[in-house]
């Protein structure tokens, strides 16, 4: 995986195989390609990586209630920095869950199976402290490792050099790159070497960060896991004590569910854009009614009630409803709005429009309503366009460029226009007479030409257009265009 930095593509993650071929993080992608021409590269997506880690962490909640993404990774992620792949991992506190899993070996084996089934390779380790587990998970000789050594307070330096931990590199202490290089400069490469040095001397030279890591490693200093929590549920259910046949009652019970969902989303400054409502019948528990509802901007519970009721009221199939289930399908980020003194933020006119758009969208689909937008283009057919009402702006309009700036454009615009034949005296002069089908039109007043060339940034040769405003003998103002290169005349608009 690569990212772009200062106009250079740079490797940020590499597979085991790639690492063996000499491809490593920070290497230029073109150099990596030279080393391994058949290499496959993807653009690094930190959001996707974080999302995957989060999903895995949430799944790990099935193993233990205390699970966290590594804090170093989170720190980098929040600062939008790319951190070493060494730091992306998950920590699980297994204290007290041993019986539940019937032994650590079985637990590890089952976890490995779960991930293998999904094609994910993992490294996993269990040890007495977070620091040791972290080190084993990264540097142990086996992908799955259980540290069976005694976790009493003896320090590593007193252990024999045969200890596995003794030979781990100093990176196993979770140090910053800077600290790691400062220590390495002294020739200290392994954990054993660093533990052999007087603690007081180390404190003086490298500060408390190193000592903290050493003590966390030994378990003499506390360490906390940044607990991951599941995302709030966006599903609401109401069970009727007695099955209901009343549309009013169903709508009334659904209203607080909608309120609850909007409140949950409001915490993230979001509002539902579409939700699905399911009604279940008694006693079969089958879905008897299902509807997806669209909302335009923030919709109140009252408006929701009215909307739902309008669907339920005349529906005779809805009988013996025992359960309502409601889930958010799509949410939109709301803009921060300045609330008024009464606390409300929406305007009355907006409310009326919202209701209208909501009703039409739900009847005819969301694409039924489109909004006119002005674009920054010389070409008349590209200077105005229509987009779905809730779509994001695709092309940005020029500042200070509005429809009012275009009084010379017709009120009815035809594209590509109606072909006409003309009688003109000079190539770039307005015609004296034009024929629309069999109808002859005599031109008495004319202005132009307004010269517009199609953009040259295209495959085809740009067309040269001369537009004329003309007034015919009936007093009609027409907009006609001469395509000079193609030698065609078109009627392109009318002022009405």
């Amino acid at each position: 995986m690569y990212t772009e930095r200062r106009n250079q593509r740079e490797v940020v993650r590499a597979s085991e195989h790639a690492l063996q071929l000499g491809i490593y993080p920070h290497m230029s992608l073109s150099v990596a390609h030279t080393l391994c021409p058949e290499m496959i590269s993807y653009r690094y997506d930190p959001e996707a990586e974080f999302s995957l880690l989060q999903k895995i962490a949430l799944w790990c909640l099935t193993i233990s209630p205390t699970v966290g993404i590594d804090s170093e990774y989170l720190t980098h992620y929040l600062k939008r920095e790319i951190c070493s792949p060494l730091f992306s991992g998950i920590t699980i506190d297994l204290s007290g869950t041993e019986r539940l899993h019937k032994g650590e070996e079985r637990l590890i084996s089952s976890i490995e199976k779960v991930f293998a089934k999904r094609g994910l390779a993992i490294r996993i380790a269990i040890s007495s402290t977070i620091g040791k587990a972290w080190a084993h998970a990264r540097f142990a000789p086996r992908v799955a490792f259980i540290d069976t050594s005694d976790s009493s307070s003896d320090t590593l330096s007193e252990r024999s050099p045969q200890s596995t931990l003794y030979h781990y590199p100093i990176a196993a202490l979770r140090l910053s790159e800077q600290l790691e290089s400062q220590i390495a400069e002294l020739g200290i490469k392994t954990i054993g070497q660093i533990f052999a040095l007087p603690r007081k001397s180390l404190l003086k030279r490298f500060g408390d960060t190193l000592i903290e890591r050493i003590e966390q490693f030994e378990g003499t200093r506390m360490e906390f896991i940044q607990q991951v929590s599941p995302a709030p549920s966006l599903v609401r259910i109401h069970n009727f004590e007695v099955p209901s046949n009343s549309s009013y009652e169903i709508a009334a019970r659904a209203e607080p569910l909608y309120g609850s969902l909007t409140n949950t989303l409001a915490l993230e400054n979001k509002a539902p854009r579409s939700i699905t409502v399911l009604l279940f019948s008694y006693p079969s528990q089958k879905i008897i009614w299902q509807r997806e509802l669209f909302f335009f901007r923030r919709t109140t519970t009252k408006e929701f009630y009215d909307l739902l009721l309008s669907y339920l009221e005349n529906n005779r199939t809805i009988r013996d409803v025992c359960k309502i289930q409601m889930a958010v399908l799509e949410a939109e980020q709301l803009l921060n709005e300045q609330p008024r003194f009464d606390g409300s933020v929406s305007r009355d006119s907006d409310r009326a429009l919202r209701g209208f758009i909501g009703a039409i969208s739900n009847r005819m689909g969301r694409s039924a309503i489109q909004q006119a937008r002005v674009y920054d283009s010389h070409l008349p057919e590209e200077s105005i366009g229509f987009e779905p009402i809730d779509s994001k702006l695709i092309r940005s309009p020029s500042p200070n460029y509005t429809i009012e700036d275009q009084p010379t454009r017709p009120s009815l615009f035809f594209h590509p226009g109606e072909p006409i034949r003309v009688l003109a005296l000079l190539p770039d002069h307005p015609p004296k007479r034009m024929y629309l089908g069999q109808q002859m039109i005599t031109i008495i007043v004319s202005f132009g030409p307004e010269k517009i060339e199609e953009p040259w940034f295209s495959e085809k040769q740009p067309s040269l257009r001369d537009y004329f405003r003309v007034c015919d003998s009936h007093g009609r103002w027409l907009w006609i265009c001469h395509h000079r290169r193609e030698k065609r005349w078109m009627l392109c608009g009318v002022w009405v």
Partner: protein
């Protein structure tokens, strides 16, 4: 004069006579990113369309007018010099067209005021002209202007208001010379525009005049303007929208077309001729300028002053009396100077040199005029003209009327002092640097056009990297596909199309490397002066070609690293000589006949010697075997692309060693080529051949000289001159074969060729540096190291070379080293702290000062405490000590690298008693470095190791596994004959693959005993390209070649040993 709407003149009436129209609003690409054509193209097109004149009105600049002026003279049309000036609004922003006025000076005084006005806009960094007051200042100074205010219609009616505010003010000064300009915008508003303009014309009583607001000479260039507009606005073509014009109508149109477009107001079209009449009375040819006078109290004239200074100088230079030949030459030269009125120029140069001398800044003049007796006596040059008598003839060319050419090189570290002296001595309004117009080259054009077309930066980089293999003309679909790019991609296609079109377009204005213009009168009255990006510097708007065209004199104030090195060498040598009671040495006292020095040069033992240290020069030295000063002049000039491409090297060598007879067709040729044995080696000789043998006039010869530089690009120019030269020679009775040979040789100078006058000056520096290297190798080594970066070789090679010459080099040590490299009492060279990567000079000097004042410091804590007590303003930083420890600079304290680092990490912010820090237990537990690692870290930190050469670490393996021998043992083994095979190994210190070598690669390998020169054939290189290009060290098996005392190797096989070195050193 009538009003726009009132004067009655019918188009049909005009048609009967010749249609007269001149374009008065033309923007050239010297308005930077605002036009799609060069001034020359616009002028040529205007002439082709039958215009009588063309008015250049660049945006707030007069930068393009000299080129336009030259082109206008060439095409025989009048050039109207003007400028577009903003009237109000934020005019530096990217508005397409803010309200502005076209200002045409009608006299020289008007031009001068305009130039001053533009300078003020730039120097005062005005970004907004919110009132008419500023513009009023221009008109207050001079009333000799024609002003045209182009109409712009906006919906808020601001133009009308602006006109109402400005017209009364402007009219007060220039009365009848104020016009309102109208152009067709080809928008839907055109009819309204014309109606409103006529109304305004009547309202303000202003005559109408037609312009076409020309931005390019032909419609095809519209895309260039659009792309450049995108560059200016930092936007892509996809997003630019209405910020570019909707059509391509702003090209030069024929007079007939203009009359047709403005058939309603033909009188406004015809009025352009009225303005031409008013404005064309001024031309750039009227500009003149003078050098500043160097005054003193005696009241003598400038010439008398010069003569007096020359003879005082001559007395100093010729202690045993001025030789008669010198006296004669002086007389001739002074007479010529008087005739051409160049005395002030020479006095100015002398003033600058005097200043440099007073500050002990070493300098050396070069160029045709610099190598005159006058300059020698004035101390501008140290080249004794008696040693190169031919140069008298090339002093100042009266016939060619070219300005005298003096470039003065100063020590590179101290040139800024000289530049600031010039500003102070002559005044900032009287002195400025020449501009350097930075034009689009392939890569910069590709980058900008790629961005415009929406390519991402990585793709642009990919095209740029791939394009190294392409010349600008042969980018094909295949070559694009080979690099993984889609040749059918629209953005890539358009990018390449635009790139080709804008190559050569001015991008921005920068400062010339050192060309100074100094004037008696304020310079900003001749050309606008603008502040340079560098602080305290100002540049004029014209480049060196422009000022040369107008005959303005410039002095090149250049920087040369070797002069810094020589000055340092002289200081060290003279300090030593003083102790011994010997005379000090200086540049002009270096003996030119020292046999030992020439012997050394002949052996190509020239690492560090000025100009002759490159691989190509070193391979030429044993063949040329210089034995006198003039041989060095030839040596400097011969190894250049010009003589090589002109096939002049081998004929010269054959003739020099008597293998070919030296013959001349006649005395004329002998006079020109006699000194170089019938082979033209210098640029001047090529020109003199053209004049004397082909009958070129001095003016044509000057054109030839300028054209030489462009020959590579313009085959048609070559053909033009080729025919002219050959015909001329045949007409003068020379054979066709001789003419063809001469033409081939002259053509060679289209590559880089050297003038004899420059070679002579450089040869003196060659001689001086070689002499010092031979007789004072330690001082030379120290000076070279202190003057870095310069030359071809890294400090490691310079040190290794010094060691090979018996110099003892001591590594850097905290208690012994100064900031700079020094010579110890024992004569050994002590490396200074300046070579340690990452140490600031102030920090290094602080440590040296502490050691000097406190004496030997036994521990790091002592140094830390002393620094705390000494330096109140510059605290000693821990990082500095870390860098010193990484360089192993604490050896005199008995600390290894790691031990020192351990100590330094333990230092506290404030000084503490010694015992508290001492931590022998911790220190003793640190792992030890291997010897190889120590050498490796030395290289990492200082760039070399005094402990051992890396190759010596693997010598046993090299001997055993590769049968490789040290270079010294091979070179000195007399049993090895020419052609014998052997194996050698070393670090690759230089790789060269010159264009002139037809694919051959020249390598230099360094082992612990010396440097081996290796020649790798093209086939061998292609088979082992990776090793040759990337490996840090190589084992080469090859055949021995001997040329006299010089031995080199022609490689038969090459193998990389980088991994082997890594194993030992890591």
């Amino acid at each position: 004069m009538g009003l726009g709407g009132c004067e009655i003149m019918h188009y049909s009436n005009i048609q009967r006579s010749k249609l007269l129209y001149s374009e008065l609003q033309v923007t050239t690409n010297y308005s930077f990113l605002r036009s799609g054509s060069h001034p020359e193209e616009l002028v040529a097109r205007a002439a082709a369309l039958g215009y009588s004149a063309i008015g250049i009105t660049d945006w707030m600049t007069l930068g393009g007018i000299v080129r336009a002026h030259t082109a206008a003279k060439q095409h025989g049309i009048k050039l109207l010099i003007g400028c577009a000036l903003p009237l109000c609004g934020d005019f530096l922003e990217n508005q397409r067209t803010p309200f502005h006025a076209l200002v045409y000076p009608t006299t020289k005084s008007g031009y001068e005021e305009l130039s001053v006005f533009i300078s003020r806009i730039h120097t005062e960094r005005l970004t907004e002209l919110s009132s008419s007051l500023f513009f009023q200042n221009l008109l207050q100074s001079s009333k000799d202007f024609v002003v045209i205010i182009p109409v712009m219609i906006d919906r808020k009616n601001r133009f009308s208001n602006m006109l109402s505010a400005f017209v009364p003010i402007i009219r007060e000064y220039i009365k009848d010379n104020l016009y309102i300009g109208i152009s067709r915008t080809f928008s839907a508003d055109d009819a309204d525009l014309l109606a409103i303009t006529r109304q305004l014309s009547v309202e303000h009583n202003l005559p109408l005049v037609v312009t076409n607001d020309v931005r390019y000479h032909t419609p095809e260039r519209r895309i260039v303007l659009d792309a450049l507009t995108c560059v200016r606005m930092k936007i892509t073509i996809q997003d630019v929208g209405t910020r570019i014009l909707p059509h391509g109508e702003h090209y030069l149109k024929s007079p007939h077309e203009m009359y047709r477009l403005f058939r309603e107001i033909p009188e406004a079209v015809a009025r352009t001729e009225e303005i031409v009449e008013k404005v064309s009375s001024f031309s750039l040819d009227q500009l003149w300028y003078e050098y500043p006078e160097i005054t003193d109290d005696s009241g003598s004239s400038q010439l008398e002053e010069l003569v007096s200074r020359v003879f005082i100088g001559a007395a100093e230079r010729f202690l045993e009396g001025i030789p008669p030949s010198v006296e004669r030459a002086l007389e001739e030269e002074i007479h010529l100077i008087q005739e051409l009125r160049y005395e002030k120029y020479f006095l100015t140069c002398h003033e600058i040199v005097l200043f440099a001398r007073s500050r002990d800044i070493l300098c050396q003049g070069r160029g045709a005029a610099a190598n005159s007796v006058v300059c020698y006596c004035l101390g501008i040059t140290a080249v004794n003209p008696l040693t190169i008598d031919l140069l008298f003839a090339r002093f100042v060319s009266k016939e060619r009327q070219e300005p005298p050419d003096i470039d003065i090189d100063f020590e590179h570290e101290r040139r800024e002092e000289v530049i600031q002296f010039i500003y102070e001595r002559f005044g900032r309004e009287h002195a400025a640097l020449t501009a350097e117009i930075i034009t689009y080259r392939f890569k910069s054009a590709l980058t900008d056009m790629g961005k415009v077309c929406g390519l991402d930066s990585a793709t642009i980089t990919q095209i740029a990297e791939s394009s190294r293999r392409w010349s600008s003309g042969d980018i094909t679909a295949e070559s694009l596909s080979q690099t993984g790019l889609d040749p059918h991609n629209l953005a890539i296609k358009k990018t390449l199309q635009l790139t080709t079109l804008i190559c050569g377009f001015p991008r921005h204005r920068s400062q010339h490397v050192g060309g100074f213009i100094i004037s008696k009168y304020p310079l900003n009255r001749i050309v606008p002066i603008i502040p340079a990006t560098m602080a305290a510097r100002a540049i004029i708007e014209w480049d060196k070609d422009d000022i040369e065209e107008l005959g303005i004199l410039k002095i090149d104030i250049l920087a040369l690293g070797m002069l810094s090195c020589l000055r340092r060498s002289f200081s060290l040598i003279n300090a030593e000589r003083e102790k011994r009671g010997e005379k000090p040495v200086a540049l002009y006292t270096i003996p030119t006949d020292d046999t030992q020095t020439y012997d050394m040069i002949g052996k190509a033992d020239t690492i560090g010697v000025f100009q002759i240290e490159s691989r190509a020069q070193m391979s030429m030295l044993p063949r040329l075997r210089p034995r006198c000063y003039y041989d060095l002049v030839i040596e400097v000039a011969i190894v250049r692309p010009g003589p090589i491409h002109g096939d002049m090297v081998h004929p010269y060598l054959r003739r020099r060693f008597g293998k070919e007879r030296v013959t001349f067709p006649d005395e004329n040729v002998k006079a020109i080529l006699g000194k170089t044995l019938g082979v033209p080696l210098f640029q001047e000789q090529a020109m003199r051949l053209a004049i004397c043998l082909a009958g070129f006039s001095p003016g044509e010869a000057e054109q030839l000289r300028r054209a030489m530089a462009a020959w590579k690009r313009h085959e048609d120019v070559i053909q033009k001159f080729k025919a002219r030269i050959i015909e001329g020679m045949l007409a003068h009775g020379y054979s066709r074969q001789f003419a063809e040979t001469c033409m081939h040789q002259i053509r060679g100078f289209s590559e880089y060729g050297f003038p004899e006058s420059h070679a002579a000056s450089f040869a003196l520096l060659v001689l001086a540096s070689a002499w010092i290297k031979k007789h004072y190798p330690a001082e030379f080594c120290a000076s070279l190291l202190n003057s870095q970066p310069m030359g071809f070789y890294a400090p490691a090679q310079i040190i290794q070379d010094a060691k090979n010459h018996g110099v003892v080099v001591e590594s850097v040590d905290i208690n012994k080293s100064d900031w700079e490299t020094t010579i110890e009492d024992s004569g050994s060279v002590r490396i200074g702290m300046h070579l340690i990567k990452g140490i600031e000079q102030r920090q290094g000097e602080l440590i040296a000062l502490i050691v000097k004042t406190r004496g030997f410091l036994p521990t790091i804590q002592d140094l830390w405490n002393a620094a705390y007590e000494t330096a109140s303003f510059i605290p000693l930083r821990r990082e500095t000590l870390v860098k010193l420890a990484q360089a192993d600079a604490f050896q005199s304290m008995g600390l290894s690298r790691r031990e020192a680092l351990w100590e330094i990490r333990g230092l506290t912010a404030h000084p503490i008693p010694l015992k508290e820090l001492d931590d022998p237990i911790g220190r003793s537990r640190l792992p030890l470095l291997s010897f190889g690692q120590q050498v490796s870290l030395d290289y990492e930190s200082v760039g070399f190791s005094a402990k051992a050469h890396p190759i010596s670490l693997i010598r046993p393996i090299l001997n055993k596994d590769f049968n490789a021998r040290s270079w010294q043992s091979i070179a000195q083994d007399s049993s090895l004959r020419h052609g014998a095979t052997f194996t050698v190994a070393g670090l690759v210190i230089s790789r060269q693959r010159p264009d002139t070598a037809k694919g051959i690669v020249f390598l230099s390998l360094e082992d612990e005993t010396g440097i081996t020169n290796i020649i790798v054939s093209r086939e061998l290189f292609e088979q082992n390209a990776r090793a040759v290009i990337h490996e840090p060290a190589l084992v080469v098996r090859g055949a021995l070649r001997r040329i006299g005392p010089v031995v080199y190797c022609v490689a038969a096989s090459v193998r990389g040993i980088g991994e082997l070195l890594d194993e030992v050193m890591s």
